[in-house]
């Protein structure tokens, strides 16, 4: 069983910094994206039952190496960081293309697990885009995993319904926050992680090494303007004892739902 887990280093909560000239996010360290931690936990769970190897794959600045190293401590067997100036500023479409190139170079995989969304972009699009690039099925918005015998069953959220989807490899699964608890590494695991292989690949390592197919220049979308919202004060702030606020709230509720 070959499992690839796509992970991303994201800024700590509320700490996104943007380059105002080309409106691209500045990457300088951060944490493992929460959904990706769940995807990795799912990978470890599946590997325990089916055996195999877990590769953690990430695209980002060189600072993302520390986050990749962390995934090696939690259970990945090897790490690959795609880092090159040419990759900078990629939108979803081109990010997925870049990841797909790396998956191809890795010789493909049976199962590609992604976090459903990241805290900095929150588009939830990359897993589907990646699956389309690889022309393999994707199951998204996975909120739980079950097993029938040795076959993983992904419980998927749909509009007003859930679906149980039987894994059929190769495939992509995008894992939501509730699907698994994130794993923590012991001290020994962290020490061992230092010895696991971590490769850094740049543009010249990609099967398609034409720089014009990557990064901001290849991205179909462009952020043309960013502006800060400023709102005027609609009503003056109210200072009152807490009990009065409670009263205010109950009165407002009664005005809507009726009753005493």
């Amino acid at each position: 069983m070959k499992i690839i887990v796509c992970i991303k280093q994201v800024p700590p909560s509320g700490g996104i910094v943007v380059d105002e000239t080309d409106r691209v996010q500045i990457r300088s360290g951060g944490v493992l994206n929460p959904c990706d931690a769940r995807a990795l936990a799912v990978a470890v769970m599946i590997k325990k039952r089916l055996g195999g190897k877990i590769t953690a794959l990430s695209m980002g600045a060189l600072s993302a190496e520390s986050t990749l190293r962390q995934t090696l401590a939690i259970g990945a067997d090897e790490g690959v960081l795609l880092s090159d100036k040419a990759f900078r500023g990629a939108d979803v479409c081109v990010t997925a293309y870049t990841l797909a190139q790396a998956v191809t170079k890795l010789g493909g995989a049976d199962l590609i697990l992604c976090g459903q969304q990241t805290t900095d972009g929150d588009t939830a699009q990359t897993p589907f885009s990646l699956a389309a690039r690889l022309n393999i099925p994707a199951v998204g918005f996975v909120k739980a995993i079950e097993f029938t015998g040795e076959t993983p069953i992904f419980i998927q959220e749909l509009s007003g319904a859930s679906a149980a989807v039987e894994a059929r490899f190769p495939m992509v699964a995008a894992i939501g926050l509730s699907a698994a608890a994130p794993l923590a590494a012991s001290l020994k695991e962290r020490l061992d992680a230092a010895k696991k292989p971590l490769k850094i690949w740049g543009l010249s390592d990609m099967p398609d090494s034409d720089g014009s197919n990557y990064g901001l220049i290849a991205s179909p979308t462009r952020v043309i303007k960013i502006s800060r919202i400023s709102t005027e004060q609609k009503n003056p702030p109210i200072t009152e004892p807490p009990a009065d606020t409670a009263e205010r709230i109950l009165k407002a509720v009664r005005a809507v739902v009726g009753g005493r």
Partner: protein
Amino acid sequence: MKKILIYLQTSVDGEILPVGLELIGEACRLAERAGDTAVYGAAVYGADFFPCGKDPFVSSKKTLETLAGLTGLKAVYAFECKGLESFEALPYAKVIKLCIDELKPDVFLVGGTPEGRAVAPTVAALLNTGATADCTAIDLDADGALLQIRPAFGGGIIAEIITPSARPQIATVRAGVFLRTDKTEGLPLPSVILRRIDCESGCPSFSVLKKRVTGLCAEKFEQKKVIVAIGGGVKSVGDLSVFEELCKKIGASLMCSRVVVERGLLPQSRQIGLSGSCVSPELLIAFGVSGSAEFLSGIKAAKRIIAVNLDKDAPIMKIADEPVINDMYAVAASLRDYVAADDGANGKVQK
């Protein structure tokens, strides 16, 4: 002639989901403003869906009537796909791609449901174009360029995004962001174009995963008239109970900002905002929510907002109808007295 195509997601019983109708409403407004623009729809059905006698491709009359009644559309494509009885992103996207290849729309709009949010990026990847997620506003210019507007990067930044050359320009929009139009007179009725595709036999590129729909999701939150929203002021599970009890008592939905979901305190289905739900309650009571641009984009339609926050400068205090500077826990304690003690009495808070 510019063309806008809208993905019309249907429920299991063939109804068009409301978000599709909202997109039609907005697309018609854009078309009117930009001029020389036609709006189209596309829906994908499985074969099983249709009550069909022997021929699996005999369409349901009611469904066709529904499609034919979508005023404002020039035409609507109905794809009957044998083998696509349940949703799957890649084959659905390949069907949509057939439609896009034929129609060549400038813009493709998709409702931000789980299915739509899977379809849009998949179609985009197949066509090597962009898809902007969760737009809060869109605009079309006379040349057919779509301006895609959404909060981005956190911290109160609004980004304007374009797709300079790739086509179609794709955007997803959450339910509740746009209004349906009630205006029907003077608008044309669409012609229905029925297309039949056998995705089951001899067509490996449409192969599907084995799937069984296991049941309805729990509660729908958007419907409730009163919503209590809790934010970063809530730190642990222990802090939740008073708000849960309050909601039960007053018949409100308990929802939250994203940090509460990140802390694992409430499921993502309860998140309000850009990457959560748009809500339109009669009354929204926000406890310890700062009011980020992302959060605020989900409560634009709230009729009345009471915000309880310690920080008078928090953005939510600017837009609230009643911005109250108070400790949410002190207020909650007063409410707890009411919730616990008062069942027969007349709903007065004990002072």
